[in-house]
């Protein structure tokens, strides 16, 4: 924001309150109300006006307070933002970064916990990113703000307060479309993203105690996704598990499984297993039972290793 006066932030409670997760704390004082805009409580208004600001040359970073509140703005994201460049033959191509805290684990109940990344991945025209750690959050956010295409930037809210890490002060970017290999392994490939990467890390540690070597890949960029890194790993291990918080049916794990099957069926020595949230709405009391645990991920790893 200091280096580019076209950058504006808009959303609910992000100025005076610094955001409900404090992600924008202090920015109102530093940059003023013209650039850090506390909007009316209206998600379609936030995304719709952000699109307009961008058409006139601003670079808006819009915040949807919780991903669960994106539905009032669904038309603006899916029908407008995603399709502008295409439908106008490139005459108008809005660049908007839409930040959305997502996922469970904060005792937020049904409407503060969902992971609906698949809706946006299913919408041609959108880039969908989700970091799993502070370092990538800065790097991916800078990439998103420099990206000429609209970006859905998903922030795993469970790790806002549970993951601390020093982040370099200098300008660096994390590339869009590149996965990160969190830990190398040779028996099973485990694919995940967002807050689930932490859970998967625990599962990898548990598996290593049982002498199963797991290669954990943090996808980071959900669309476009890094098919090369996935295939390289699967060809090495021959076994693939995919873990995400979202309900399994229609979840992005199914698409990744299909992509791998189409391209590397000969390398597979076992069925691809998915570990997901249950195919129910997100519960309040039984949140910890709903969220895929490290023991459920471990179970899938062991099933694959013993297949």
């Amino acid at each position: 924001m200091s280096s580019n006066s076209d950058v504006v932030l808009l959303g609910e409670d992000l100025g005076r309150d610094g955001g409900v997760f404090r992600a924008t704390e202090g920015l109102l004082d530093e940059f003023g109300p013209q650039r850090v805009i506390d909007t009316p409580l209206s998600e379609d208004g936030i995304i719709g006006t952000a699109i307009g600001m961008s058409l006139y040359g601003l670079l808006p970073v819009a915040e949807i307070q919780f991903m669960d509140f994106a539905y009032p703005a669904f038309n603006q994201i899916v029908n407008e933002l995603a399709k502008f460049r295409y439908r106008s033959g490139g005459e108008f191509s809005p660049r908007v970064v839409v930040r959305m805290p997502y996922g469970g684990g904060i005792k937020g109940g049904l409407y503060h916990s969902q992971s609906t990344e698949a809706f946006f991945i299913h919408t041609p025209g959108l880039i969908v990113l989700t970091p799993s750690n502070p370092h990538d959050t800065k790097g991916l956010l800078l990439s998103a703000m420099r990206c000429p295409d609209p970006v859905i930037f998903l922030e795993p809210k469970r790790i806002y307060r549970t993951f601390r890490e020093e982040v370099p002060d200098d300008d660096y970017t994390t590339p869009i479309g590149k996965a990160s290999v969190v830990s190398e392994g040779s028996d099973v490939t485990l694919l995940s993203w967002g807050a689930m990467v932490q859970t998967c890390n625990e599962a990898v540690a548990l598996a290593s105690k049982e002498n199963i070597s797991v290669e954990l890949i943090d996808l980071r960029s959900l669309l476009p996704f890094d098919i090369e890194s996935i295939l390289r790993s699967v060809k090495k291990t021959g076994r693939l598990a995919i873990a995400h918080e979202a309900p399994k049916i229609g979840g992005f794990g199914g698409e990744l499984a299909a992509q791998v099957s189409e391209r590397a069926i000969d390398s597979l020595q076992a069925p691809i297993l998915r570990v997901g949230g249950y195919d129910t709405p997100f519960p309040y009391s039984l949140e910890n039972q709903y969220l895929p645990s490290s023991s459920r991920v471990l179970k899938a790893i062991k099933n694959l290793a013993g297949y």
Binding site: G52, S54, G57, N75, Q76, S88
Partner: protein, 390 residues
């Protein structure tokens, strides 16, 4: 038994206060607080001298020519559609005064977010007939590369912004552009038009609300043509009229006769000047009538009667303006036929040229989804084009 309370005394004082804010700047400020519809032209060609805008005869002639062009264009498009030469069209007949009057009040740097019936508005804003027809025929020179239904014009050069078919989606975009104009200290304004049906959408509320809170330099032009496809206005709102809705958002709404091109021009001009002076948004409800169907796919005989159409034909915008021009000696009698003739020739040439241009190449199906084609779409493009032998 219903209990009625007369709140008018309260309203009156607040209206007067609002009025006083502008009265110094605009002699006509009382218009914006009048509950009566603004009209300048009378059926016999007389004009309200107090309100008559100062336009030269050349400007008046140009306005009239654009109105005729817009009407003849609609007729030609319907004929092309019925012959199977284009897939779809929308009839603007009845809307000429709304579109030409409003667009004439704008400057080249102002932005418009037109709706699918606004052919005339786009032409006045600078879209050439060639560009218009390329879009109509969705050929390879169409700015939108044939990707949209052919009534969603887009031109960055002329600041005509692409719209979706979800009717109110563009309204918050227009407010965002207006915010950015203010942020960048540009003296430009934004105008978005919409039909009466769009005022029922949630995005209408959001856009009006944001515009009011931000005092954005924007004009909402509601072309109230009495119908949203088959449904008369009373199915959309129980409100006394549409203009009054602006008050709830904290800015002025004015109702004008949408068949009176001078009234639409005047109201838009005032709203534009107000927006440029930092006075924020205005809603203009231009009351008109959709003389044709909703689109080439619609048969209005299913839901409305002939008498209604006759009533409005007698109030048609084009003869109303012509009476004024004749009385004012702005156009000589013999010139009227010449105008129709030259407009028709221009249309015929444009149609002939655009119809010959081929449809977009298959490869364009895959471009502009993103700034660069990502690998997964490239794979599909290669497959569709038979590259790589998958």
């Amino acid at each position: 038994m219903s209990i009625q309370v007369d709140f008018s005394i309260l309203f009156k004082s607040s209206r007067e206060r609002k009025c006083l804010r502008w009265i110094d700047r605009f002699l006509m400020a009382e218009l914006l607080h009048s509950t009566n519809m603004l009209q300048i032209l009378k059926p016999n060609g007389e004009v309200d001298r107090k309100l008559e805008p100062r336009l030269t005869n050349d400007e008046l002639r140009m306005m009239y020519r654009y109105m005729v062009l817009t009407r003849r264009l609609s007729e030609k498009l319907l004929s092309l559609q019925r012959q199977g030469r284009i897939g779809f069209c929308v009839d603007s007949s009845g809307h000429e005064a709304c579109q030409i009057g409003s667009a004439f009040a704008l400057s080249p740097d102002d932005w418009i977010f037109p709706y699918y019936r606004d052919s005339g508005m786009c032409l006045v804003k600078g879209l050439s007939l060639k560009e218009f027809m390329d879009h109509t025929f969705t050929n390879e020179e169409d700015a939108c590369l044939g990707r949209q239904l052919n009534v969603h014009w887009a031109s960055r050069e002329h600041h005509i912004v692409s719209s979706s078919s979800c009717v109110a989606g563009r309204l918050p975009h227009a407010v965002g552009v207006a915010y950015a104009m203010k942020y960048k200290n540009q003296n430009d304004v934004c105008l978005t038009s919409l039909g009466d049906g769009s005022t029922s959408q949630g995005e209408f509320h959001s856009a009006m609300n944001f515009a009011g809170v931000w005092r954005a330099p924007i004009i909402f032009l509601v072309e109230n043509n009495q119908y949203a496809i088959s449904l008369p206005l009373r199915y959309q709102t129980a409100s006394q009229n549409i203009a009054i809705k602006a008050e709830a958002y904290g800015f002025e709404g004015v109702q004008v006769n949408g068949n009176d091109v001078l009234a639409v021009y005047k109201a838009t001009k005032m709203a534009v000047e107000k927006a440029r002076a930092g006075g924020g948004p205005t809603m203009i409800e231009a009351v008109t009538y959709r003389m044709g169907g909703h689109s080439s796919s619609d048969d209005p005989a299913r839901y409305r009667n002939e008498e209604e159409l006759e009533y409005w034909k007698a109030r048609d915008a084009i003869p109303l303006f012509r009476n004024y021009l004749t009385r004012k000696n702005a156009i000589r009698e013999e010139e009227y036929d010449e105008i129709v003739q030259s407009v028709d020739e221009e249309l015929t040439l444009a149609i002939r040229a655009s119809e010959k241009i081929p449809k977009p190449a298959l490869s364009t199906l895959f471009t502009d989804v993103y700034s660069e084609i990502p690998w997964h779409i490239k794979d599909e493009q290669d497959e569709a084009l038979g590259v790589g032998g998958q």
